[in-house]
């Protein structure tokens, strides 16, 4: 399986500059993020694990942006409620029995942008090692198995591979980001300075009014691991943080308490009990609103709806482009979106 990846690596056009066709195809992107970013995208390799509706949206965006290579790992079989933009009646086909979601999505991704080389790898997350993970620039996963994810996250963190974990809970959604202990990037600042170099006209020309210059600041950001984020104290949370973060913590706590078993939509009572315990532990006055919120979230634990997938998959896709281009401050470290309040915020949970 790894050999097929290597094979594609060799096949891929490794020329250093964008072709005329690429420049025309990616014209608008280049105008937004610049030619440097476009070149970085071209050399990047993104791994998507689990092509859920939301991850499929991110995958579509990254594919369209002009990333070099994409690898898919997804052992899920298509079900009727899988509403991903990469799944069409055609790609699923008549024979449901043999339809793996990765396979059913593959052609759609290739069609979106034939310049991107896309391949499927059949490999369980638990077998990933340093050598395997190092080939990727970004790893983007959908999954709530926090024990398994913590292992994958540590592997990425150790190898300075960007790790993004996302999941949609129906009307709410989130993604967590860890780009390692020292993520280097730049921030560009535009400055307009009066043009001083030709105030006195040397060649009989009028001076131009002003000149726009760009100042480039080099920065380094440190990211917390998934484990650190999941074990942070509630008493340290900012006031008015979206309660989605409590729900994520409760799911992790549930898994720890139940020997690795994950909560399902039927575990409403168990999660409400857990909420009460955690409230006590952190000395937090219980809020009825939050109890109702946890009940609702539990019922929508694995639900996905198209508009929320489009929104968070869009923000996530843009974040992947930003990380690859290493241009501008990355979101550090969790994005929470609630379509009922309409608010999407970036919180720093350590």
């Amino acid at each position: 399986m790894d050999t097929s990846t290597n094979h594609l690596l060799q096949q891929h056009n490794t020329g250093d500059t964008l072709s005329e066709y690429e420049a025309a195809l990616y014209d608008r992107g280049i105008r937004v993020w610049g030619v440097d970013a476009q070149n970085r995208l071209r050399k990047a390799h993104v791994l998507f694990v689990g092509l859920t509706g939301q991850t499929a949206e991110a995958c579509k965006n990254v594919t369209l942006s002009g990333v070099g290579r994409i690898t898919i790992i997804d052992s899920h079989t298509v079900t009727s409620t899988d509403l991903s933009l990469l799944l069409t009646d055609q790609s699923i086909g008549q024979n449901v029995r043999s339809t793996l979601r990765a396979k059913a999505s593959l052609e759609s991704i290739k069609e979106l942008n034939p310049l991107v080389s896309v391949n499927i790898v059949e490999r369980d997350v638990s077998t990933f090692d340093d050598e395997f993970i190092k080939q990727f620039t970004v790893v983007c996963v959908d999954g709530l198995d926090f024990q398994q994810q913590s292992i994958l996250n540590e592997l990425c963190h150790r190898n300075s591979v960007s790790y993004l974990l996302n999941h949609s809970f129906g009307m709410r959604s989130f993604f967590f980001a860890d780009h390692g202990h020292s993520f280097q990037y730049i921030v560009k600042k535009k400055k307009t300075t009066p043009n001083t170099n030709n105030k006195t006209t040397t060649d009989g020309k009028q001076p131009a009014a002003e000149e726009e210059t760009e100042e480039i600041i080099e920065k380094v950001a440190r990211f917390a691991s998934l484990k650190e984020m999941l074990s942070s104290s509630w008493s340290k949370f900012p006031n008015r943080i979206s309660p989605i973060i409590f729900f994520i913590h409760l799911l992790n706590q549930y898994q720890i308490n139940n020997n690795g078993k994950m909560a399902t939509c039927k575990d409403v009572d168990a999660l409400v009990t857990l909420l009460e315990q955690e409230n006590k532990k952190y000395n937090i006055t219980p809020i009825n609103k939050n109890t109702d919120f946890i009940k609702l979230m539990t019922r929508q634990i694995n639900a996905e709806i198209a508009p929320v997938c489009a929104i968070v998959g869009g923000v996530l896709g843009q974040e992947i482009v930003k990380i690859i281009s290493r241009d501008n401050d990355p979101f550090n470290n969790i994005f929470l979106y609630d379509s009922l309040t309409g608010l999407g915020t970036v919180e720093n949970i350590l």
Partner: protein
């Protein structure tokens, strides 16, 4: 470890697939009653571009079953980075039709009607709009947005309006008498430049680019009497022939004999420049421009050819790797390019006839690059790369997939709210902004929608005041520049009291059309449209009637303007025309063509403060203030 194939799981899943409702998740999330409304709703999507593609996909995946889509545009290569329903082999085909085919693959049971057409066309009148429960704009230009706004107001159908620009975007909801409409707040007009700046006194690259586009129009497009960029045979550089004081550029004739390239070059870069250089008033404190002679330049290049490697002389705009088109070519290269491209364009003109300027027409773009850079050189303005000139000349507002996807998600969420409680749209719906970077932690930020602006001339009965020179402005200019371009009427009819002064539209017979042409040429004053006159402008298609109070004015503070419109009641108006500047404008030059991409009307601020509206107080509602405090616990103590 390979994927384990567990037969039992497969059988269970297949059963699940047979029995489970495809839309179970969305039912669970929005409720069965709202979902039933979604399934029954008849909706119109205006525009199948960047937002349109994403929106159609979201609608079909959300359970909408009756969708109309309209777009007049065809697919271009530069669309494919974001308009994900289209493929390379679709280039040149109808966006609406291909988008329909593509989304049917998600659900063949959906009824989608695709129209390749202009939403402003009469066939999409009241009866057409009335059929919909909801209209969603996914448009790229102001005039169509204003038109759909008025159509929806006139039939009382809710409208979701949206726009994007780069990383920024927003979506909002408009409903007659409940929310503010698209035109309740003035929109930023396209950039305008005074004709004298373009023709005589350019000071920045954009002035030369606009000039070069006009020159292209003058030479290679159909004749346009408003295009006064140059008169090809006029060789007078100073003085008045009637008085016998004229000075002529006698070399123009010789240049003309040498060929078209020499003729045009000499005319615009020598004769016209010589004439400007002789206008002493223009150059007080500055060095006047120097006219160029093509033969001298070419001879010089020939001489230097051996020791001057000019092809590598270009400067790169960014410090890092650049595209070829991002390299700023030298003046010499631009001169050579000009001669070359003008020959090709002349050949094309003779073979294929006139062609309007288009940013995606490479020859036309090359002409503007070369011509504008030569002019910039003459006036001491920095030269620009082809990449940058394309953006400026083509008014490109670059659009990307992610922003379009996010905004289309907002649109669908608002659509759910509209369908669930039409009576509470103003309370429940929101204007949602997308930011590039978190501002006070927020990346996605909803704000309340305002009630209608009582002084809006579109959605409230109000009198508009129009300041204009009634002696010199013709009816034709009033109709085209003020009523159509300025106030977005489609087919205006002007009434003064009981008499009809002007009737727009195409359904007139020849006699009426001739009469209209006569009217168009006469100044406003001829028909009694003078100071303090009140006219009524009707537009039957848009079902709008606006009363306009005319206020005569022949001096404008902003010399780029020749009229001013204010939507406030007339008594508030005070006469403050104390402009000291002399007005030399004979109108303004506007860049009219807009890129196929989406534009944003009021870009959200990035510093976290809401400055989205011009009105100063009562802007941030109580709810917003609460939200700001919720987000920032320190805010209160800072106050």
């Amino acid at each position: 470890m390979n994927v384990v194939v567990d037969t039992d799981i497969y059988i269970n899943r297949e059963k699940e697939r047979m029995t489970e409702d495809k839309f179970q998740h969305i039912r669970d999330c929005i409720g069965d009653d709202v979902f039933e409304k979604v399934q029954k709703a008849k909706v119109l999507v205006v525009g199948a571009g960047g937002i349109g593609c994403e929106l159609l996909k979201n609608l079909v995946l959300s359970g909408f079953k009756d969708i109309h889509i309209i777009d007049l545009d065809t697919i271009d290569l530069s669309n494919l980075n974001r308009q994900f329903l289209f493929r390379k082999h679709h280039i040149g085909m109808s966006k609406a039709k291909i988008a329909r085919e593509a989304v049917l693959k998600y659900n063949p049971d959906v009824n989608i009607e695709a129209h390749e057409g202009d939403i402003k066309n009469q066939q999409y009148g009241h009866q057409y709009f009335q059929r919909f429960d909801l209209v969603m704009n996914a448009l790229d230009n102001l005039s169509a947005r204003k038109h759909v706004n008025r159509m929806c107001l006139s039939v009382g159908v809710p409208l979701v309006e949206s726009g994007t620009a780069g990383y920024l975007g927003q979506a909002t909801v408009i409903l007659k008498e409940k929310t503010e409409c698209f035109e309740c707040l003035p929109k930023e007009a396209p950039k305008e430049f005074a004709v004298c700046t373009i023709r005589s006194n350019p000071s920045s690259p954009i002035h030369c680019i606009v000039w070069a586009k006009m020159l292209y129009g003058r030479l290679f497009d159909v004749a346009d009497e408003n295009n006064a960029v140059t008169d090809m045979d006029d060789n007078i550089v100073e003085g008045d022939p009637e008085k016998g004081t004229e000075v002529r550029d006698t070399k123009l004739e010789q240049a003309k004999a040498k060929g078209y390239d020499h003729w045009v070059f000499h005319k615009v870069f020598h004769t016209d420049i010589d004439r400007l250089a002789r206008m002493k008033d223009l150059w007080t404190g500055k060095t006047p421009p120097t006219p160029l002679l093509l033969d001298d330049l070419l001879n010089n290049y020939q001489k230097n050819n051996g020791n001057n490697n000019n092809n590598n002389n270009g400067t790169i705009t960014t410090k890092s790797i650049a595209l070829n088109s991002q390299i700023v070519n030298s003046f010499e290269d631009n001169t050579r390019a000009f001669v070359e491209v003008i020959k090709k364009l002349k050949e094309r003109l003779e073979k294929d006839g006139a062609k309007s300027w288009d940013k995606d027409d490479d020859l036309a773009l090359d002409f503007v690059v070369a011509a504008s850079n030569i002019r910039s050189h003459i006036f001491g303005i920095p030269l620009k790369s082809k990449f940058d000139i394309k953006q400026m000349a083509g008014n490109i507002v670059p659009a990307i997939a992610t922003t379009n996807a996010i905004i289309s998600g907002f649109i669908v969420l608002e659509a759910f709210k509209i369908l669930s409680s039409r009576d509470q749209i103003q309370e429940k719906c929101k204007t949602t902004f997308l930011f590039k970077q978190p501002s006070n932690k927020r990346v996605i930020y909803p704000v309340s929608i305002d009630q209608p602006n009582k002084s809006c001339y579109v959605c409230s009965q109000t009198v508009v005041t129009l300041k204009i020179d009634t002696n010199t402005t013709t009816i034709g200019k009033l109709v085209n520049e003020v009523l159509k371009k300025g106030l977005a009427f489609h087919e205006p009819m002007i009434m003064k009291g009981q008499s009809m002064i002007y009737e727009g539209g195409d359904d007139l017979d020849k006699e009426e059309l001739d009469a209209r042409k006569m009217v168009e040429q006469k100044p406003m004053i001829t028909f009694g449209l003078s100071d303090n006159a009140i006219i009524e402008v009707h537009d039957y298609l848009q079902d709008i009637k606006v009363s306009i109070l005319i206020s005569h004015c022949d001096k404008f503070e902003d010399q780029n303007k020749f009229f001013e419109v204010s939507g406030k009641p007339p008594q508030v108006q005070s006469d403050t025309t104390t402009a000291a500047t002399t007005t030399t404008t004979d109108g303004t030059v506007q860049q009219e063509d807009i890129d196929e991409v989406e534009i944003i009307e009021y870009p959200p601020p990035s510093d976290g403060k809401l400055k989205r509206k011009e009105r100063e107080q009562d802007d941030i509602t109580v709810e917003e203030e609460q939200m700001q405090e919720e987000q920032d616990p320190h805010k209160r103590t800072k106050k």
